[in-house]
Amino acid sequence: MADGASGALRRTLNLARPDEVYNAIVDAHRNLDDEQCRAFDAGLILLLVNHVGDADVIREALAAARLSLNGGSRAS
């Protein structure tokens, strides 16, 4: 298991049409410059974080996203 994975964050698929959702996110950023992307993402994160509402899940997601910055965990 990756570091800090205590199990609150879902690791398996939770989307009925994953490709659709994924592309919707990417498409929403089309034609935005970097600064607009950052603003857009910040708003999106806040909306979703409030919807999730579970501080443990959010903390775990923060750690997992951090790990993904370095290409993800090697020792899994």
Binding site: R38, A39, G43
Partner: protein, 542 residues
């Protein structure tokens, strides 16, 4: 420039200069907000003190303006809170704007039935004036103006001070020295004690102006308003039709340029429009730091207020924390001096008030980071929060323009007894400040009027037979219908049922309240042994 008439209080030649000195129990350095409050709280317990200040007048310029409910409750014991409420501006509501539109309205006092409002805005010089007036009436307080501390020699049994006056230098010996000498504390410097923390570089311009037209009562905060589009602005009303306008200037502004009256007026004109008229009271450019001493006491030297910790002004926590510090300290110091508690009781002053300072610094740093984001992503989240706040209620709560001062919680203090019963639905848990409510005892009144200088046991008891035995030295409050109460107890009638509600009071429920109005312990039905144990703990014998 100021419409406030600064009084010059009389300097008197100290008797020590003529060889008539004697060792004092308590010497307090600094007559700002903390020092006089401490002197009065000690005097109320029969403890004499010498209170030294380097100058002969009150705070120069209005620094602190928002005096919190908890501070007013403390000052009320000296009979000066009413004066402050009458003179000041009571406010509980605030409005936050993004550009020119309101996005968030808050009310800090959602429930009625408290003696004091959430905040009264009153200039620091008035607060100090009222404190000085009371100190000067008080025989147990020896208030010495133009007495500047310039040297200190701490010893195991006492502390010796060198003090400079217009008539020369003298030495004064104290059993306990309390340094309330502000953020640049001379005592801290003389003892070479560190004051670690964080320095912030954003600059703010304060313009206190006297206005003639109708003024808003609320606190208003703007992000990116049309009259100051790059930054934030805070507007507060004070007594005498004075407004405080606080412009965030950023890091690179030139403070001397910004302070020029024509430049201040240009900003104000944009803000208030062509017809407004005002006069300047006080202008200042400030930056701030968040710092805290590693220990609030070194031997017989104790630090309180800004001398021990400083925060940013967002949240009005500096002065209010200074007052809470000395309220926490006064009863403990009085007990140690009287020999009824060991000196180790003072350790709890340090641990409790350091926890409070940490909480205050955390809150004020979060507000600071929201108001002045330090890196691009921080700004992106801040701006996204503001943009969402119009349409999404959750985002309004995230808008942090200052989380305003409320009594800090002191969980896990060695003085407090954790809950043994687990069925509490409400009510202040041990480590929390007591909550006010209206009560009737002959005349009308409030619970805060009945919690005095010593420990209080408040018991919800329909009949006297339900009361626990009252430990010695504890004042009893019996919450009941009638006015008859056994010896040692005062009967309070819970007129509106709010006491029962706010304390989750049922027959037999009892709260042990400390002299600083924090809850030390509570029970559904305490027995004599439980009460005695909790009281021993709360007085440092535990």
């Amino acid at each position: 420039m100021s419409s406030y008439q600064y009084r010059h209080y009389p300097y008197r030649r100290p008797p020590e200069l003529d060889g008539k000195g004697k060792r004092r129990q308590v010497v307090i350095v600094g007559a700002g907000l903390a020092g006089p409050t401490l002197a009065l709280a000690l005097a109320a317990r029969g403890v004499a003190s010498v209170l030294l200040d380097e100058d002969d007048t009150v705070s120069n310029g209005s620094r602190s303006i928002c005096q919190a409910k908890h501070s007013l409750e403390i000052w009320d014991r000296f009979g000066i809170a009413r004066r402050m409420v009458d003179k000041g501006i009571t406010w509980e509501q605030g409005e936050v704007y993004l550009q020119d539109r309101p996005i968030y309205h808050f009310n800090l006092a959602p429930e009625p039935g408290h003696k004091f409002p959430a905040f009264v805005n009153l200039q620091q010089y008035y607060v100090e004036e009222y404190l000085f007036d009371r100190c000067l009436e008080e025989k147990l307080i020896d208030l010495r103006f133009c007495n500047k501390v310039v040297g200190i020699r701490p010893g195991p049994e006492s502390v010796s001070l060198d003090i400079e006056t217009p008539d020369g230098r003298y030495a004064l010996e104290a059993e306990w020295l309390v340094a309330c000498d502000g953020v640049r504390s001379a005592v801290r410097h003389l003892l070479d004690l560190p004051f670690p923390g964080e320095v912030f570089h954003d600059q703010f311009l304060i313009a206190d102006i006297r206005f003639t037209s109708e003024l808003p009562k609320e606190r208003r905060f703007w992000f990116y308003p049309p009259f100051h589009p790059t930054n934030s602005v805070l507007l507060h009303r004070q007594a005498d039709n004075v407004l405080r306008v606080d412009f965030q200037l950023g890091r690179d502004a030139d403070p001397e340029e910004e302070k020029k009256p024509e430049n201040v007026d240009r900003r104000l004109r944009q803000m208030f429009g062509p017809d407004a008229t005002w006069e300047h009271e006080w202008t200042s450019v400030y930056t701030f730091t968040c710092r805290m001493m590693e220990r609030f006491a070194e031997g017989r030297v104790i630090f309180a207020g800004d001398a021990a910790h400083v925060v940013s002004p967002f949240g009005a926590r500096g002065g209010n924390a200074a007052v809470a510090d000395v309220d926490n300290l006064a009863w403990k110091l009085a007990r140690v001096l009287a020999g009824s508690s060991p000196a180790s009781l003072l350790d709890s002053y340090c641990s409790e008030r350091r926890a409070a300072a940490r909480e205050n610094i955390l809150n004020s740093t979060r507000s600071t980071d929201f108001i002045t984001p330090k890196f691009p992503a921080s700004r992106a989240f801040r701006d996204a929060t503001l943009a969402l706040a119009r349409d999404f209620p959750f985002a309004r709560t995230l808008v942090n323009s200052g989380r305003l001062s409320v009594p800090t919680v002191q969980p896990g203090s060695p003085l407090d007894t954790p809950d043994g019963d687990s069925d509490w639905l409400r009510g202040p848990a041990p480590g929390s400040a007591m909550v006010d409510a209206p009560v009737v005892n002959g005349a009308g009144g409030f619970l805060v009027d009945h919690v005095g200088q010593e420990f209080t046991l408040m018991s919800f008891a329909p009949r006297a037979a339900d009361l626990p035995g009252l430990p010695e030295g504890v004042a009893g409050l019996m919450v009941a219908r009638g006015s008859a109460a056994p010896a040692g107890w005062t009967a309070l009638h819970d007129r509106d049922g709010l006491l029962r509600q706010r304390y989750d009071g049922r027959a037999g429920t009892a709260y042990l309240i400390r002299p600083d109005r924090y809850v030390a312990a509570r029970w559904r039905r305490p027995d004599a042994r439980e009460l005695a144990t909790a009281l021993r703990r709360a007085t440092g014998h535990g």
